[in-house]
């Protein structure tokens, strides 16, 4: 991609390169990305830069996006599935300002989607890139705090500790007690942290036509899933992997196939559910789908019973 022109924005444009990072830095990140794509699921160390937003707030994703974005791209940024959450707004504004690119809230219109904690409900295409913000890239970190040890474990494909952990969950709780950042096996080789997306989203990663890139800024790691990569959630034959399900439907669009967030309506225990993916929900409402709490429904405005 040709990113050599500087940002057109008048406020900060003169002082910063297109998409904030200088071209040498982008080249360094692209090299790490190429390596990551070549070894799916392997965590590539990269010289993560200090960014104008805090560590833990998406600096890894921002650097990856800055390295792959071009002037013709259309960017969508979501946090918790929504375009309107504070951090998503901030990152979208950052790229609108430093790269002057078009932004969108529509999944289908975006060429790059940066996300924190969700994968959009609408299936992605092979001309799209999904960029994940990753806080702790190491799936074994909470089993072994030392990087020197975990790198060795990956090198030797020594994943027994993880299976023991999952087994202990089952013997203690009757379930694998991991609901997000649920570990996956990539192409039969590397155990990978899918970032703290709910395990509901894990199956979407498998054989996804879009390129998936993961950036961890503070921990300085990049990893990737090339299009159509095999991604399996770890499980046992007698305890197969399963995703969350709800007895309810979305209160706004009546979807039963999407990840639902719970909304507390009052202090009497009344609550409703609504799609976490705001674009998916809006699109369904525009197509005429109605949930019980939608304002043009007979019971709209009443709390769910």
């Amino acid at each position: 991609m040709e990113n050599t022109q500087t940002s057109q924005n008048t406020e900060t444009g003169a002082a910063y390169n297109f998409a904030y990072l200088d071209e040498q830095t982008k080249r360094m990140i692209r090299r790490a990305l190429l390596k990551a794509v070549a070894i799916p699921g392997y965590q590539v160390p990269f010289a993560g830069r200090e960014m104008p937003m805090p560590y833990g707030w998406g600096t890894g994703g921002v650097q990856v996006t800055a390295a792959v974005i071009g002037p013709d791209d259309t960017l969508k940024v979501i946090d918790q599935g929504a375009d309107d959450t504070t951090n998503a707004v901030s990152i979208r504004q950052f790229f609108a300002k430093t790269a002057g690119v078009a932004t969108t809230e529509k999944t289908a219109e975006a060429s790059i989607i940066q996300t924190r904690h969700r994968i959009p409900e609408k299936p992605l295409r092979d001309d799209q890139i999904l960029v994940y913000q990753v806080p702790i890239p190491e799936p074994l970190r909470f089993l072994e705090p030392r990087e020197t040890e975990t790198r060795k474990m990956h090198a030797l494909e020594e994943y027994g500790l993880m299976h023991v952990k999952l087994y202990e969950d089952i013997s203690r709780h009757g379930h694998i007690a991991t609901t997000y950042a649920y570990p996956v096996m990539v192409d039969g080789r590397y155990v990978m942290d899918p970032s703290p997306t709910p395990k509901f989203d894990n199956p979407k990663m498998n054989m996804m036509p879009a390129l998936q890139l993961f950036g961890a800024g503070r921990e300085k790691r990049i990893y990737a899933l090339p299009p159509f990569t095999r991604v399996e959630s770890l499980d046992f034959e007698d305890h197969p992997f399963s995703v969350q399900s709800w007895d309810d439907e979305c209160g706004m669009c009546s979807a039963t196939d999407s990840y639902l967030d719970e909304v507390i309506l009052d202090d009497k225990g009344n609550r409703m559910f609504v799609c976490s993916d705001t674009d998916y929900c809006t699109e369904r409402q525009d197509a005429g789908h109605r949930g019980p709490q939608h304002h043009d429904q007979p019971l709209g405005g009443k709390a769910a019973e």
């Binding site: 990072l21 833990g56 504070t86 969700r118 806080p135 709780h173 609901t179 503070r218 719970e262 976490s276």
Partner: protein, 372 residues
């Protein structure tokens, strides 16, 4: 009627406007100038430059003003600016032996060649609030001039005095390998075990409070490398670069720095007579607390090299280096105030399900319940 939470963008913009207003404070009070910060809060400026890894007094002062005096926020602003700067050249190693000295003391010798030069220091002041400062009192009288100039080349306690007797471990002289590459954690990912160059860079950028506490812990038994301050010196040194096409060095300006060298617990072996060991600290501006702490932790982290037993966190380079950076730490600690409802929803769902199952089990086996 339920309307999903929207309007984040306007709320954020308003929050930022309020922040700007709060930063300014009551407009009846004159606005603080960055020159005033640069001159009168110079130790804050020094800290921001050190931990921001950028020697620029004006920008540090601006960052402090913009951050409303929150120094970690100011360091963050400087780091985010620094990261965008291109590298034109690498300087030659600075010569602290040729420092234009403002202060130089040794705790290991009462008197020594070059003398004890106290310079500007809080040491020995009584910590009593000076209410005349609040009353915007008098301009302080000018400090007295010594009748002898300070030596041009002040001998270094460790290299020139102790090493003369062979009492302190040799450091490979940098003069031999000026061209050897020096690690830079802002340009290359860190891997462990880390070399001493990388460890020192990490300590120099590390949070003053963290390095202080870790240094302190080595004095309280969590390491065994008892230290003396061989020397602290503070003053100006020239920075030189040698452009390849020129073939000789040119002076590009002066920086003021504090350097600390500690003399530590001795060590010997069958073939080597006992010798003192060293720790090293170097920071921008005048910050002796940081320079001394850095030297303590540097020495503690040399445990592996010295064949010492690891007994405390200050000796654990991975622990120190991964947790010393306040910009990293504050970002990640504070990120938990970002929304996590998607993850929390997953947990809610699981806990409810597990509770339901336990309830169902309890109901289906009434006789065991009765037996209890």
């Amino acid at each position: 009627m339920y309307v999903a939470v929207k309007g984040g963008e306007r709320a954020i913009n308003n929050a930022h406007r309020l922040l700007a207003e709060k930063r300014r404070g009551n407009t009846e009070t004159p606005e603080i100038e960055t020159d005033q910060i640069e001159q009168q809060l110079s130790l804050s400026v020094a800290r921001v430059m050190s931990e921001g890894s950028l020697f620029d007094r004006d920008l540090a002062a601006l960052a402090i003003k913009q951050a409303r005096g929150d120094l970690i926020e100011a360091i963050f602003l400087i780091r985010a600016y620094r990261t965008t700067l291109p590298r034109f050249a690498f300087s030659k190693p600075i010569e602290t032996g040729k420092m234009d000295i403002e202060r130089r003391i040794s705790a290991t010798f009462k008197d020594l060649p070059g003398g004890q030069i106290l310079g500007p220091t809080f040491d020995y002041t009584h910590r009593l609030l000076d209410f005349t400062l609040m009353a915007n009192g008098q301009t302080p009288p000018e400090a007295a001039q010594g009748d002898q100039p300070v030596d041009d080349t002040m001998p270094r306690v460790l290299d020139d005095l102790l090493n003369y007797e062979g009492l302190i471990q040799d450091e490979p002289a940098s003069a031999d390998n000026d061209d050897a590459p020096v690690a830079d954690l802002t340009r290359e990912p860190v891997s462990f075990p880390a070399g001493r160059d990388l460890r020192l860079q990490n300590l120099a950028r590390g949070d003053e409070g963290f390095i202080l506490s870790m240094g302190y812990s080595t004095q309280r038994g969590y390491a065994n490398s008892h230290a003396f301050v061989g020397e602290i010196r503070y003053g100006k040194v020239a920075v030189e670069i040698e452009p390849e096409e020129l073939g000789f060095a040119i002076d590009i300006g002066d920086i003021d720095i504090t350097e600390c060298e500690t003399v530590n617990k001795f060590k010997g072996s069958k073939i080597k007579p006992p010798q003192f060991t060293r720790g090293y600290g170097l920071v921008f501006g005048q910050s002796e607390r940081k320079a001394i702490s850095m030297a303590l932790v540097d020495r503690a982290m040399r445990a592996r090299e010295m064949g010492e037993q690891i007994m405390g966190p200050a000796q654990d380079e991975e622990f120190i280096m991964e947790h010393s950076d306040n910009v990293q730490a504050t970002g990640f600690v504070e990120h938990i105030k970002l929304p996590h409802y998607v993850d929390f929803q997953g947990e809610l769902e699981l806990v409810r399900r597990m509770r339901k199952e336990i309830e169902a089990r309890a109901q289906s086996t009434p006789e065991t319940k009765a037996a209890e």
